[in-house]
C-alpha cells in the first residue's frame, strides 16, 4: 500500500466506518431507512420487469442446457408417483374430511379456521446466504411479521419484514429459521424376539393395556334338593346364589380387571431448523422415547403451535427422511424432507394467525 497517500487511506477508512455506522443505525430500527428501501424497491420494479423480459431467452437457454436431463427424469418419476398416489389420495381425502368433522365436533381448532391471504411470489433474495422470497401482499392485507406461510405442500416459511404492499418471507431452509414441531403418532415398537403364543382368544400380547374380561357364567348347576354352592374361584360379592327348595341355581360371574395405562398417541416435540440451500432441514432437540415408539422414516412432521409459537398447530412440514441416532444422551438428528417445493414457488398463502402471546402484546 506504499503508493497510497494518506488522503486515499483516509477515504478507505471513512467509507468502511460509514458502512458500519449505517449498519448500526439500520439494525437498531430506522424508519427513514425503511422508507428509503421501500421507495427504492418500488422504483426498481419497472426496471426489474424489463430485465425479466430481456433476460428470459437467456434464462430459458440456460435451463435448457443445465436442467433438461434432470427435468426429463423428474417428469418420469413424477408420473410414476402420481399413478401410485391416485388411490391413496381418495383414501386420504376421506380421512381428512372425517378428521375435520371430528375437530369441529369437539370444538377443536383446525388450520381451516384461520383466515389466509394468497400472494404471488415476485422475487427472491439474490445472495447465497439468505433464503428469502418477496411476495406482493403486505400490511394492507393484514399481514404481520411472524405469520406462517404455507403452500399446497405444507409450511414454506414465515414473514420477516412487511411493507404496505409487499413482504419478505424467510424460507424454512434459511439457517436462521426455527419453529417448534412435533412428530405425531409414532407407532409403538414391537418387542424383539419370538412373540409369545396367545393363551386364549382374549389374550393380548402387550401387557401395557387395560383388560376387562367378563367371563360367562362359569357354573350353572341345578341340583335336586336344597343345596347351596358357590363355584370354586368365585369372587365374593360377585357371585349370586339362589336357593329354593326344589332346585338350586348358582350363577357365578367372575370379573377380572387389570388396570394399567394405555400409551396415548405419542407426540414428540422438537425444533425444525434450516441449514441453507441444498441442505436438509433438521428436527433437533427431540428425545426418542423407546417405550412409546421410535421414529421411522416417513413419519409426518408438523408444527406444534401453542401459546408461544408464531405458527398455528398442525401445519404439515414434511416427513422424516433420515434418522441419525447418536450415542450418549444426545437425541437423534432427524432430517426432514419438506412437503413444499421451495424451488417452484409461484403462489403462497399467509395464515393470518397470531399467537396468544402476540395477540396479548398487541392488545396491551
Amino acid at each position: 500500500m506504499g503508493i497510497y497517500s494518506p488522503v486515499r487511506r483516509r477515504l478507505i477508512i471513512a467509507l468502511l466506518l460509514s458502512s458500519v455506522l449505517l449498519l448500526t443505525l439500520d439494525l437498531r430500527g430506522n424508519q427513514i431507512f425503511d422508507t428509503m428501501r421501500n421507495g427504492f424497491q418500488q422504483a426498481m420494479d419497472p426496471l426489474e420487469s424489463a430485465a425479466e423480459v430481456v433476460s428470459r431467452p437467456i434464462r430459458n437457454a440456460w435451463r435448457g442446457i443445465t436442467q433438461y436431463d434432470d427435468l426429463a427424469d423428474e417428469n418420469e418419476d413424477l408420473r410414476r408417483q402420481l399413478e401410485a398416489q391416485r388411490a391413496d389420495q381418495i383414501t386420504y381425502r376421506a380421512a381428512v374430511i372425517e378428521f375435520q368433522a371430528l375437530l369441529e365436533l369437539n370444538n377443536l381448532p383446525s388450520l381451516s379456521d384461520y383466515d389466509a391471504v394468497t400472494a404471488r411470489v415476485i422475487g427472491e433474495t439474490p445472495n447465497n446466504l439468505d433464503q428469502i422470497i418477496e411476495i406482493d401482499k403486505g400490511e394492507d392485507d393484514g399481514i404481520d411479521v411472524g405469520m406462517a406461510v404455507v403452500s399446497e405442500g405444507g409450511l414454506v416459511g414465515k414473514v420477516t419484514r412487511v411493507f404496505d404492499d409487499r413482504s419478505f418471507i424467510m424460507l424454512v431452509r434459511d439457517q436462521r429459521f426455527a419453529v417448534r414441531a412435533k412428530v405425531p403418532g409414532a407407532a409403538p415398537e414391537e418387542p424383539e424376539g419370538p412373540e409369545p403364543p396367545p393363551t386364549s382368544a382374549n389374550a393380548i400380547p402387550h401387557d401395557d393395556l387395560t383388560t376387562t374380561t367378563t367371563l360367562p357364567p362359569s357354573t350353572t348347576t341345578t341340583v335336586p334338593g336344597a343345596t347351596s354352592s358357590t363355584a370354586p374361584g368365585g369372587v365374593p360379592g360377585s357371585s349370586t346364589s339362589t336357593t329354593s327348595t326344589t332346585s338350586t341355581t348358582t350363577t357365578t360371574t367372575i370379573a377380572a380387571t387389570t388396570t394399567t395405562t394405555i400409551p396415548p398417541t405419542e407426540k414428540e416435540t422438537g425444533t425444525v431448523v434450516g441449514q441453507g440451500r441444498g441442505e436438509p432441514i433438521l428436527l433437533r432437540f427431540v428425545r426418542e422415547n423407546i417405550d412409546a415408539g421410535r421414529f421411522e422414516v416417513g413419519d409426518a412432521v408438523m408444527t406444534e403451535g401453542g401459546e408461544g409459537s408464531l405458527s398455528p398447530p398442525d401445519i404439515p412440514i414434511g416427513t422424516i427422511s433420515r434418522i441419525r441416532r447418536q450415542s450418549g444422551s444426545a437425541g437423534p438428528m432427524i432430517e426432514v424432507q419438506l412437503g413444499a417445493d421451495l424451488e417452484r414457488l409461484s403462489f403462497v398463502r399467509i395464515v393470518l394467525y397470531q399467537s396468544l402471546e402476540e395477540a396479548a402484546g398487541d392488545g396491551g
Partner: protein, 175 residues
C-alpha cells in the same frame, strides 16, 4: 454542486449499479452454476479495485453495496461494507503493478470477490447471527470468485469508464 456530482465517479456508477442489480435479481438468480448465485455487483466492485486501486475499489464497493442493500432485504451498510472490503483487497494488485495486464486484473478481481464473499458470514457473526456459515460455503466462495474473475475482462473496462479512470491517470500514479 450538480455539475460536481455529474463529474464525480459516483454519477456513472449509480445507473450501472441499478441495471446490474435488476439483472442480479432476475437473470443471475436463475443462472446458478453449481447451485450458487453469481454476485455481479461484487464482481464489479472487485474489478474497480483491480482497475483503479484500493481507494476506488472501496468507493465502488460502498456505492454498489448500498444499492444492493436498498434493493434487497439485507441490512443497509452490510453489503456496502463487504463489497468495499472486496474492492480494497482487489486493489492490492496496484501494489504489484499500476497498470496490471488483463490476466493479473482477473486474478485480483477473483481474490477481491472471494474476500468480499467471505466477509459476508463473518459480518453476520458480528451482528449476532449464530450460524452464519453454511456447510456449502466453501463452494459458494469458490464459484463467486471464479465467476468474478471470468467477468473481469468485461468489468475492468466498465469500471474504468464508471470511475473515469483514464490511461494518463495510471501513468501519473506509476510515476
Amino acid at each position: 454542486m450538480i455539475a460536481a456530482f455529474i463529474q464525480s465517479p459516483v454519477f456513472r456508477l449509480l445507473p450501472v449499479g441499478v441495471i446490474l442489480l435488476a439483472l442480479q435479481n432476475t437473470l443471475f438468480v436463475d443462472l446458478q452454476p453449481a447451485g450458487v448465485i453469481v454476485q455481479v455487483l461484487l464482481a464489479l466492485a472487485a474489478a474497480a479495485g483491480a482497475a483503479g486501486g484500493a481507494d476506488r475499489g472501496a468507493l465502488a464497493g460502498f456505492v454498489l453495496g448500498l444499492i444492493y442493500d436498498l434493493g434487497t432485504d439485507s441490512p443497509i451498510g452490510a453489503t456496502a461494507l463487504t463489497m468495499a472490503l472486496g474492492g480494497v483487497v482487489a486493489g492490492i494488485a496496484w501494489t504489484i503493478m499500476v497498470d496490471p495486464p488483463w490476466w493479473l486484473a482477473a486474478v485480483f478481481t477473483t481474490i477481491g470477490a472471494a474476500a468480499g464473499e467471505l466477509a459476508v458470514p463473518v459480518l453476520r457473526i458480528f451482528i449476532g447471527e449464530a450460524e452464519a456459515f453454511e456447510p456449502r460455503f466453501t463452494r459458494v466462495v469458490i464459484v463467486v470468485a471464479i465467476a468474478a474473475g471470468a467477468l473481469s475482462p468485461l468489468f475492468v473496462p466498465l469500471s474504468r469508464w464508471c470511475l473515469r479512470i483514464r490511461k494518463p491517470d495510471w501513468k501519473a500514479l506509476a510515476e
